[in-house]
């Protein structure tokens, strides 16, 4: 317990939360958009992984951060398009197709990893560019908060900016309205002449791109190389965050932060004697509990 207070009063704990929430937040926003359109994107994990790989390799080969960014986004786009084509046009089961993409990504990245870099574990021999950390002068003066909010990675700030952007997109643009229509009542969308498939495809692509950005943070944020399966389940946790947060941007963001807190806690607790595995299982336990409670409650409500 004494440990806990030490941990919670240390600003670096919160800085870590902000830092580790970057990939999760981006992927969660992607999960949200896909879910609103009625096409859950279960391939987030695989897309993140693939972008993490492509981004770092392309940037290493071209020695340019910008090219790396493009490379990462392009690969996210590629996988998203595959998902769209097979699930929307050829009527494949979207869950199974997404799982296939995850497997594809895991295999492809590991295969290319050893083919391109000659190593089997990571691409550390390839020096890729990293996204810079950004220093805000106006934050210097703030006590406590400056250590948390300042000097975070550019992608981190982008992640939080994306929350804002997604919020605007969903609430204030016609596209956001169309998204909800397609997800809630496709007949309504059809009756006013909207193309349901086109909108679903857009939603999947946007969610893939966001996930791609999140993936690139892993290999181009603080470290500059790719490791096998380095996404470690973050794509699934993003889906869990969306399941928890429902349809609201704020809800999903808070859920993602919750899971990030768990992750940050696990780093701090590793000093303490709480086993790593138990801490790592927390997000999954949380999701299951919340899902089951939600099911019980809505069932009860329907009976009334």
């Amino acid at each position: 317990m004494v440990n806990l207070i030490d941990i919670l009063s240390n600003p670096s704990f919160y800085a870590t939360i902000i830092r580790v929430s970057t990939p999760l937040l981006l992927a969660s926003m992607g999960a949200l958009i896909a879910s609103l359109a009625g096409t859950p994107n279960v391939a987030l994990e695989g897309i993140m992984l693939f972008s993490a790989f492509s981004g770092t390799i392309v940037s290493a080969l071209s020695q340019s951060l910008f090219m790396g960014l493009l490379g990462g986004l392009a690969s996210a786009l590629l996988l998203s398009i595959i998902l769209c084509v097979f699930s929307l046009k050829y009527k494949a089961n979207i869950i199974l197709t997404a799982i296939a993409i995850n497997i594809l990504s895991s295999g492809l990245t590991a295969f290319l990893l050893s083919a391109v870099s000659g190593q089997k574990g990571n691409t550390s021999s390839f020096q890729s560019a990293v996204f810079p950390q950004i220093h805000f002068v106006f934050l210097e003066k703030l006590p406590f908060l400056s250590e948390i909010l300042n000097n975070q990675n550019a992608l981190t700030y982008s992640a939080y900016a994306s929350v804002f952007v997604v919020f605007l997109l969903i609430r204030k643009t016609p596209f956001g309205t169309h998204l909800k229509a397609v997800g809630e009542n496709p007949e309504a969308a059809v009756s006013v002449g909207l193309s349901v498939n086109k909108i679903k495809a857009m939603a999947l692509i946007i969610s893939g791109l966001l996930a791609g950005l999140g993936g690139m943070f892993l290999s181009m944020g603080y470290i500059s190389w790719f490791t096998r399966d380095m996404t470690g389940g973050r794509g699934w946790i993003a889906l869990a965050a969306q399941a928890l947060g429902g349809k609201s941007v704020i809800g999903v963001t808070l859920s993602a932060l919750l899971f990030s807190t768990g992750e940050s806690l696990s780093y701090s607790l590793q000093m303490a004697n709480i086993p790593n595995e138990l801490v790592q299982s927390i997000p999954f336990v949380m999701t299951i509990v919340v899902l089951l409670v939600y099911l019980k409650v809505s069932d009860h409500r329907e009976r009334l």
Binding site: I82, F86, K89, Y90, K91, A92, N93, I95, L96, T97, I99, A100, I101, I103, L104, S106, G107, L108, A110, F111, L112, L113, S114, A115, V116, G118, K120, G233, W236, L239, A240, A243, P275, E277, L278, Q280, S281, F284, V285, T287, I288, L291, L292, L295, K296, S298, D299
Partner: protein, 376 residues
């Protein structure tokens, strides 16, 4: 009926060939050494290296070439059969739930948890061999079934909600399993993440001592036969088929939807729970998975390739195990990464589940013409 069967088989075959072709091309691409030599020479050398690798990939479970002579590769062959066992079992588990229209994808976690639980029994209990092994298998099965409880509950409350719950359970089962393993049966002396040796009475009988080909294969084939029989020859099988085909009609006909949904998932979990234990008590003699072996995910592919038919499951499992072993050998002796297998698997799933690819009006019409217009 027969013509439909062969069309389906042709389709599966075509997709497999496509996947292998893509893998081949990918390997060639990865071998292209454009920096040093001319393009043509680079291409030839890439072809050579790829062909060597693929030869090993596609033939090593059967043969191996040693000093110019072709020998039967007993080592790899045993590995092939050993690896087929877990895939048959997870393939059966997934085929079961898919037949009922349930998307419980928790085979990986069920298998892992079952393996951990079985390992505990293998370490802490001492019984005559036959009883010991039976107990291990039973405990593994029950643990696997236990992992299915929450997804089953979810599916009863709302159809399709079992997807996320079962996927989450996979992670939970893995983390908890590793935790319990580390906490209670960890081998402190070795540096790696593995358990202490199992009690000798838990050792699963082997076909061959030298190659450690264990009898799990028999168990899996038996189970395949049993499940096939249950699904095709009993009234329970008819009920499951109805639920998977049209649950409204099933309910209307008086079938206990909730009861059957739970039953099928518990049974599936039980089967998946036994998938991993044979390898541990037969081949390794201790628990030594630091990461999840992936049999559960492969089970999904096996089930899809087998069209959920338990009789075809051993066939698809054998195929998947074959390429797994082949790829492992390829990875050991060449520079081509065995992860190529995952790419092949992914392509197979993507194309197999794309019903629309083969369900177009034209395709259906040509099938109808082939079968003849027998009913006006």
């Amino acid at each position: 009926m027969k013509s439909l069967l062969s069309i389906r088989s042709i389709r599966v075959l075509a997709i497999i060939l496509l996947a292998l072709a893509v893998a081949y091309l990918l390997t060639i691409f990865s071998h292209l050494d454009v920096k040093t030599v001319s393009f043509f020479e680079g291409l030839t050398s890439a072809f050579d290296r790829t062909n060597d690798a693929f030869f090993l990939f596609l033939t090593s479970p059967f043969i191996r070439v040693f000093s110019g002579q072709i020998h039967f590769n007993m080592m790899s062959f045993s590995q092939w059969l050993n690896q087929t066992t877990p895939l048959i079992l997870t393939g059966l588990a997934i085929s079961l739930v898919f037949s009922a229209g349930v998307l419980n994808l928790g085979a990986e976690g069920q298998m892992f948890a079952g393996a951990v639980a079985g390992s505990f029994i293998a370490v802490f209990v001492s019984l005559p061999a036959f009883l010991h092994i039976t107990l291990i298998i039973l405990v593994s099965a029950f643990t696997g079934a236990f992992c299915s409880v929450l997804p089953a509950y979810a599916s009863v409350k709302k159809r399709n909600s079992e997807i996320l719950v079962s996927l989450m359970m996979n992670y939970l089962a893995f983390y908890l399993g590793i935790y319990f393993m580390k906490r209670f049966i960890l081998d402190e002396t070795s540096g790696a993440v593995m358990s202490v040796k199992f009690a000798p009475s838990s050792s699963f009988p082997l076909f061959s001592e030298r190659y450690k080909l264990h009898l799990g294969f028999i168990f899996a084939m038996l189970l395949a036969l049993i499940i096939w029989y249950l699904l095709k020859k009993t009234r329970w099988g008819l009920k499951i088929k109805m639920i998977g085909s049209n649950s409204n009609f099933a309910e209307y006909s008086g079938i206990h939807l909730k009861k059957q949904l739970i039953t099928v998932q518990l049974l599936s979990g039980g089967i998946a729970g036994t998938a991993g234990i044979f390898e541990l008590i037969g081949f390794h003699g201790r628990f030594l998975w630091s990461s999840s072996p992936g049999y559960g995910w492969d089970g999904i592919i096996v089930a899809i390739m087998a069209s959920k038919n338990p009789l075809y499951v051993p066939l698809s499992a054998a195929f998947l195990a074959y390429i797994r072993v082949g790829a492992q050998n390829m990875g050991r002796y060449t520079d081509v990464s065995p992860d190529l297998v995952k790419i092949i698997q992914a392509i197979i799933i993507i194309f197999l589940t794309a019903e629309g690819l083969f369900a177009s009006e034209n395709f259906q019409n040509s099938i109808k013409k082939l079968r003849g217009n027998s009913h006006g």
